[in-house]
């Protein structure tokens, strides 16, 4: 009897600690992958581990990171957003048109216009998906093309150069030695993380992705939740568009082509399930950092961009394979 009780207590305690460590262990494994890759490049190239390079690496990862955080929300609800690359181009273009030397508006207006464009297109995605029941893949594939088309129409296929000094600060400036894009990334990450972990909306995102019918029976407005994730994704694509445009000091009509793939890759490497309901922003952040590290490290080693493509693809698949294996 006593022995029985003791063994119960023991197994209870052990299982509790296992259950408590579980989630950390999961986000931990992606950190390990990140550390291993970094260590490899550190050995391969002495410049890799310098402060200057890390600031550079973080800045390079910031745009993809911001996009990926938005896309994580969508993927958590079992959706997908393929339109972020085009949306960021359009948002950047519209913002840029307000801050050229011939058209000197407030930078604030440009920023609001860029964010608003992103949010609006996201809302459109959300409405098409939830109200008209178009599969997310199709709806956002359509938006990918439409937003690109609008960018080309709006700019007549020509870049918009000569952006004002203050606008260029968004992508090129720094605060206390930290580049503004990196600050933006961490701000977006922190906000997103709080929203997903501490708010009811965050809980609903997971619930809708896990089982939308059960979420509905539980009294959740599943449509609103799903549509909101597309708005978030669009809004962050708009923000990324501002950063990109500012950094390149000109809005290019072909900006951001293919960016959606890197964003989705970051989300998936970060362990978020494409089937919805499982995943975290910590994973996504490290996913984006891993992709950034691979790009940066291979650049330093002078690997040709052809091989970079090949290796990056392979590493993405292997990372996810390892993740599956661990389960």
């Amino acid at each position: 009897m006593v022995a029985n009780v003791i063994s119960n207590v023991a197994t209870g305690a052990r299982s509790k600690s296992i259950a408590a460590i579980g989630p950390y262990l999961k986000s931990f494994s992606i950190v390990i992958v990140f550390v291993v890759i970094s260590a490899f490049f550190a050995v391969a190239n002495e410049y890799f581990m310098t402060w200057l390079n890390w600031v550079n690496l973080l800045r390079q990862s910031s745009i993809n990171g911001v996009l990926a955080i938005g896309v994580t929300f969508v993927i958590l609800t079992r959706g997908i957003d393929l339109s972020v690359g085009s949306v960021m181009a359009l948002a950047g273009m519209i913002a840029a048109s307000l801050v050229t030397s011939t058209n000197q508006h407030f930078v604030l207006w440009a920023v609001l216009a860029g964010l608003g464009t992103g949010a609006l297109l996201g809302l459109l995605n959300g409405v098409i998906v939830t109200t008209f029941n178009v599969p997310p893949f199709v709806a956002t594939l359509g938006m990918l093309s439409m937003a690109r088309g609008l960018t080309l129409i709006f700019s007549d296929g020509r870049p918009v150069p000569n952006l004002s000094e203050s606008f260029r600060w968004i992508g090129g400036g720094s605060v206390a030695g930290v580049p503004v894009p990196v600050l933006i990334l961490f701000l977006v990450f922190a906000t997103g993380w709080v929203v997903l972990s501490y708010t009811t909306f965050g809980r609903y995102v997971y619930a809708v992705g896990g089982n939308d019918k059960a979420a509905k029976t539980s009294g959740i407005s599943t449509r609103t939740v799903i549509a909101s994730t597309y708005v978030i994704s669009g809004l962050l694509a708009g923000l990324a568009g501002l950063v990109l445009t500012s950094r390149t000091t000109a809005a290019l009509p072909q900006a951001g082509i293919g960016y959606e793939l890197d964003a989705i890759a970051a989300v998936v490497i970060g362990g978020t399930s494409l089937a919805g309901g499982r995943g975290s922003l910590v994973g996504t952040l490290f996913g984006a950092l891993i992709i950034g590290t691979i790009n940066n490290g291979m650049d330093l080693m002078g690997v040709s961009s052809y091989y970079q493509q090949l290796l990056k693809g392979a590493i993405i698949v292997v990372a996810v394979m390892l993740d599956q294996f661990r389960k």
Binding site: A19, T200, T217, S221
Partner: protein, 512 residues
């Protein structure tokens, strides 16, 4: 008569026992742990040819774990399993199938976009020239199979268009189509009505006569006494006892399963002249149900009884706002309820325990805590933030109150036993402090002990001046808990009878 295809006996007991006396399957000391938590400590079973063997036990007793091990779906940590005297250790379900063992698992797994025939012959489609699927032949075979079993399911229909009961019948047919020696059925009747159960039992008798054996799991003891020849009881992962069903009575079995004697619930009468809590006025929804008016008084349990497909579930779901009615109104506490909006219904004081917990009741990949809190999040949150402390306290209270058996509130609901999952649904609904509780088959897959707890709970809940609306296909259950019983027939409300004076026979007569 031995149809163990391809299995050459390697280790055979030399004892001079005839093949007929030798048990078909002997399992001994089977154990299995998940993450260091034992789910099964000592599983034993001796299965004889030509018998139906009931495997009994409470929720989480380890029945499904044991059966999944026998079937090769899980791998055991310890113990031995012998089939026809040959030690076996199946690595996969395909392996077990080759050795004449088949299973109908507790959690169904249909391919929704495929037809009934394609589902039945999934992975072993008849082919022309070894390449092209021979669809006509497959359809004919499926039709013959279903006709033989007397299951009324169209072979050409897609699985997603079928009702839960029909899906269950298809899975049963699929398992039986293997013509296996050992048929394992893990709660095959939890989703089907009495009529279908009857058909199933006829099929089981024919299988038995063929010399095969069936391991049968059900929490409906009436079924066990009707169909089983032998029984084995597990409790807390351990073998407790086994024997012939004819040598025991219901009370004995319940006591063995639960571990102590249980009291059945006595129901009092609600106060005369209590105010009306729920009023449904000529509610209709397309062809599902027509012109239904009914009331639930404060303190009353209204049971709804009817055959499968009589529109009961649709009716409940319409009251709760999952569907919009085509005509009619619902009033709660005298206030009109907005149609087609579950969120508002919950705010106005309704809660619903839905029919299929896997489909509409639970977010399986989320934790117990998150599931329990799901409905009440908005009610409890301040400015959009989750109040974590309050949530943890509430989850803890609910888990204790409903005796949810789990390692921690943070484990995913999908790892719980079926009965414990159902309790999580209950906990979620009650956390919103509803005045009206709508339950669709509330004790599906729940063990006898917990069933009585739920009955007691429902009565107690009503006695506090709340209302309960409950649908059940089990006549004894409806009779035990209802003050009044509304009998549905083909989408119409035929009779409302007094729950204190009606007998089971009267009820089934009214419904058919």
């Amino acid at each position: 008569m031995l149809s163990l295809s391809g299995a050459e006996p390697e280790v055979r007991d030399d004892a001079a026992i005839g093949l007929h006396d030798q048990p078909l399957l002997v399992a001994d000391g089977v154990a299995k742990s998940f993450n260091g938590v034992p789910a099964l400590r000592d599983g034993r079973l001796v299965l004889k040819r030509g018998t139906v063997h009931a495997l009994c036990g409470g929720n989480g007793a380890g029945k499904s774990t044991f059966l999944n091990i026998v079937m090769g779906l899980l791998h055991r940590d310890e113990g031995s399993i012998r089939i026809d005297g040959v030690a076996v250790d199946f690595r996969s379900a395909a392996d077990a199938l080759r050795h004449g063992v088949t299973i109908i698992t507790q959690e169904l797994s249909p391919v929704p976009e495929m037809t009934v025939a394609e589902n039945i012959y999934l992975g072993r489609e008849p082919k022309i020239g070894g390449l092209v699927v021979d669809f006509p032949k497959m359809r004919r075979a499926a039709k013959r199979l279903l006709d033989d079993l007397e299951f009324d399911v169209p072979v050409g229909a897609r699985m997603r268009d079928l009702s839960l009961a029909q899906i269950q019948l298809v899975e049963i047919a699929k398992a039986l189509s293997h013509r296996a020696d050992i048929v394992i059925m893990d709660e095959p009747t939890s989703a089907i009505g009495e009529h279908e159960v009857h058909i199933l039992f006829n099929a089981l008798k024919r299988i038995k006569a063929r010399g095969s054996a069936i391991i049968y799991v059900s929490h409906k003891l009436t079924e066990i006494f009707e169909i089983a020849d032998e029984y084995t009881v597990f409790r807390d992962g351990r073998f407790i006892e086994s024997g012939a069903i004819s040598s025991i009575d219901r009370n004995h079995l319940v006591t063995q399963i639960v571990g102590h004697e249980i009291k059945t619930v006595e129901k009092g009468r609600p106060n005369e002249g209590a105010p009306i809590l729920l009023e449904v006025r000529s509610l209709s929804r397309g062809s599902h149900f027509k012109n239904i008016s009914v009331t639930v008084a404060a303190g009353e349990v209204l049971g709804i009884y009817g055959l499968l497909g009589s529109g009961r579930t649709e009716f409940l779901e319409t009251i709760f706002g999952i569907h919009a009615p085509t005509a009619g109104d619902v009033f709660l506490d005298g206030k009109r309820v907005d149609p087609g909006n579950p969120k508002k219904c919950i705010r106005q004081g309704m809660a619903m325990v839905s029919e299929d917990r896997k489909d509409t009741g639970l977010v399986l990949c989320a934790s117990i805590a998150h599931n329990i809190a799901l409905s009440s999040l908005t009610l409890r949150a301040v400015s959009g933030f989750v109040r974590r402390k309050a949530e943890a306290a509430a989850t803890d209270r609910m888990m204790k109150l409903h005796r949810i058996k789990a390692a921690s509130p943070n484990v995913a609901v999908e790892t719980l036993s079926g009965g414990n999952q159902q309790k999580v649904v209950f906990a979620r609904c009650l956390l919103t402090n509803p005045r009206l509780l709508i339950c669709d088959e509330p004790t599906r897959g729940i063990d006898e002990g917990s069933k009585q707890e739920i009955y007691a709970f429902l009565r107690e809940f009503a006695a506090k001046g709340n209302g309960v609306l409950v649908v059940s296909s089990e006549a004894p259950e409806i009779l035990q808990i209802s003050d009044r019983i509304a009998v549905f027939r083909q989408g119409r409300l035929d009779h409302v009878v007094d729950g204190h004076e009606t007998t089971q026979q009267m009820l089934t007569d009214l419904a058919s």
